[in-house]
């Protein structure tokens, strides 16, 4: 629930409570006032009636208010004065209406009379209606104005907040960006934006340092590795070495070679992540790259009895040519390495899509996990475990998506752009 909606919720509940309470109070106080007034009038009328009855010979002055009625009944004994409310049939309106009656007894020329003054209470009904109507109207007005204010607020005042939120949402530390915002008049938003700017600034700097360190370290490792490998190669030429020494040396050489390859792959990965390859400006056709690569790998494919089927159109994503090369290379070598002998590779290149399918042993983990660095299924000792991580990184950096699915014996890698 949005903050403004939550505020609105409380506002509405409070307003409804206050208004209901106010309406009740209002009703009772007005009712009380009217009630008192009615009684007073009835008492005044009583005084007038009493006076008139005692001076029966004189002409009656005006004694009752309009709408009131007076009834005289002769009784044998006087009773208690009483104020009662009852509904009486009104012949003019042809309906029952509420009346308040003041009943008292008066002695006129030796006989007792019961005097009943009836007063119509129609105003009270009207009052109730007026109160309910007014309150409803006020409530409606209040709610509408609250809603309007709210939407205006969320459009105007909260706009910078939502802008900041959107910017944070789409923030990617890999892009090395620092989020900056225009100056805000609202203190809280300005503080928020400044914090976000400082935060992303520090984040980008730390990330950059880390990446530079990785790259420099990889670079520095290359030279000692070159020395090690060259010394080993020199030693191989020494004819006085025993066979066992040569075998040990050969194993050292293999390990050092592997280390060099690993280092190079990591270096490339870091460079791609550091965006040292400028984004391409125009689509690069993958056809020549695929064909060249298949030719290079021809004898490997042949040796393992793999059938390659291609359905390719001259198309491709916008990408740095070197990265396109690395991408295709990794997808194809992956399809060969993890294939079964006598298996199949399907390469389909259409507008916006490159699909490389190969037969292979089933994997027992979520295929998407294969994109993690150094993730290897099975024991392919020669593999560095970086191929798919590289492919994934290239796609991420260039805005393509790479997915890995399995379907029975098929392993399907799809690049879409």
């Amino acid at each position: 629930m949005k903050l403004l909606e939550r505020i609105l919720k409380y506002q509405i509940v409070t307003s409804l409570c206050v208004l209901t309470l106010g309406a009740v109070l209002f009703y009772f106080s007005v009712d009380y006032l009217i009630d008192r007034e009615v009684n007073k009038e009835l008492m005044r009328s009583k005084a007038k009636v009493s006076w008139q009855l005692r001076h029966i010979n004189e002409l009656p002055v005006y004694i009752l208010q309009l709408g009131d009625s007076l009834q005289l009944d002769q009784v044998r004994y006087p009773g208690q004065m009483a104020l009662v409310e009852r509904k009486l049939f009104n012949e003019f309106e042809n309906e029952y209406q509420p009346y308040r009656q003041l009943i008292f007894y008066e002695r006129v020329e030796g006989a007792w009379y019961r005097v009943t003054i009836s007063k119509l209470l129609a105003q009270r009904q009207q009052l109730l209606e007026a109160v309910v109507m007014t309150v409803t109207f006020i409530v409606a007005l209040l709610l509408i104005s609250l809603l309007l204010l709210n939407s205006w607020l969320s459009r105007r005042l909260w706009r910078p907040f939502y802008k900041t939120l959107r910017a944070l949402d789409s923030y990617q530390v890999e892009k090395h960006e620092v989020l900056t915002f225009p100056k805000q008049h609202t203190v809280e938003f300005e503080q928020l934006n400044q914090s976000v700017t400082h935060f992303t600034d520090r984040l980008a700097a730390t990330y950059q340092n880390l990446k530079e360190f990785t790259e420099n370290a990889s670079h520095e490792i290359q030279t000692p590795l070159a020395v090690i490998l060259s010394k080993i190669e020199g030693l191989f030429q020494d004819e006085s070495l025993k066979e066992s020494q040569l075998v040990a040396l050969s194993e050292i050489s293999e390990a050092a070679n592997r280390l060099a390859k690993l280092n190079q792959a990591l270096l490339l990965l870091t460079k791609i992540e550091n965006r040292q390859f400028l984004a391409g400006t125009e689509p690069i056709s993958l056809v020549p790259i695929i064909n060249r690569k298949l030719r290079d790998l021809e004898d490997l494919i042949e040796q393992r009895g793999i059938t390659v089927k291609t359905a390719i159109e001259p198309t491709g994503p916008v990408m740095h040519p070197a990265l396109a090369e690395v991408l295709v290379n990794n997808l194809l070598t992956n399809a060969i390495r993890y294939n079964v002998n006598g298996g199949t590779i399907d390469i389909a290149l259409n507008a916006g899509k490159l699909v490389v399918r190969n037969t292979g042993a089933p994997i027992h983990i979520d295929p998407e996990l294969m994109f993690e660095r150094f993730r290897k299924e099975g024991t392919h000792s020669a593999s560095l475990g970086l191929g798919l991580a590289l492919a994934k990184t290239i796609c991420q950096v260039n805005g393509q998506t790479l997915t890995y699915e399995t379907d029975g014996p098929w392993h399907i890698l799809t690049v879409t752009w």
Partner: protein, 225 residues
């Protein structure tokens, strides 16, 4: 043949020098940019090996200097930087090849020989070894004047073996020479053995002695003895 090695890492430079001395090449060494420029301007070299990152300058400047004054000298850049830009700049400046550290000395040797061969006159472009004669321009291989038909990989393998004759070649260096970065696609080196076997058979069928010696656990050696 006279080479100049511009490389600031002494240990690596010594290895390279030793390797080329066995090839009967004269390999001089310059450890920094200043010495390198001095040597370039005094002596004539057949091929210069340049490291790009020097303590007192950029190896690419040495390449420019060479190209301006001695365009006929072969140039191979050896660098720890595998950056595409450097590679392109280097090749655009007129260097003949670009090799990323770390590399196999046998690979460097093969490339140096290829550069020198390309830059020398027509007659000396032929590669000869024992009964084998190769015309690199035509990709033609003759044994006792009879042509042998080799696959592309077998041809590359033969040229590589001859370039590094009388030396022990590791399986990795052969695999890397033939398949480059895809060398690690081979989970074992049986695959090289297949190519070696086929090549040896084709050579021996035409009356070639068995030049190829297998060195247990290490690799192969191509020699006349």
């Amino acid at each position: 043949m006279k080479l100049l090695l511009i490389e600031d890492e002494k240990a690596l430079a010594t290895s390279i020098q030793n390797y080329f001395q066995r090839e009967n090449f004269i390999c001089e060494w310059a450890a920094d940019y200043r010495t390198a420029v001095e040597k370039i301007n005094i002596y004539r070299y057949d091929c210069v090996l340049v490291d790009l990152m020097l303590p007192d300058g950029d190896g690419l400047d040495a390449v420019r200097e060479l190209k301006r004054n001695f365009p006929e000298t072969g140039i191979i850049i050896i660098s720890a930087k595998n950056s595409l830009d450097d590679r392109i700049t280097g090749l655009n400046l007129g260097s003949d090849d670009y090799l990323t550290k770390p590399f196999h000395l046998s690979e460097l040797n093969a490339r140096v020989q290829a550069v020198i061969r390309r830059r020398s006159f027509q007659g000396s472009q032929q590669i000869r070894f024992g009964k084998i004669q190769i015309d690199p321009q035509e990709h033609l291989v003759l044994v006792d004047q009879q042509e042998i038909v080799l696959t592309r990989k077998e041809y590359d393998l033969l040229v590589y073996l001859i370039a590094n004759k009388n030396r022990v070649l590791t399986k990795e260096s052969i695999a890397e020479h033939l398949w480059g970065d895809d060398a690690d696609l081979m989970d074992n080196f049986d695959f090289i053995y297949t190519h070696i076997k086929n090549l040896r058979k084709k050579l021996m069928d035409k009356g070639c002695p068995d030049y190829l010696k297998s060195i247990y656990g290490v690799g192969y050696k191509f020699s006349e003895q």
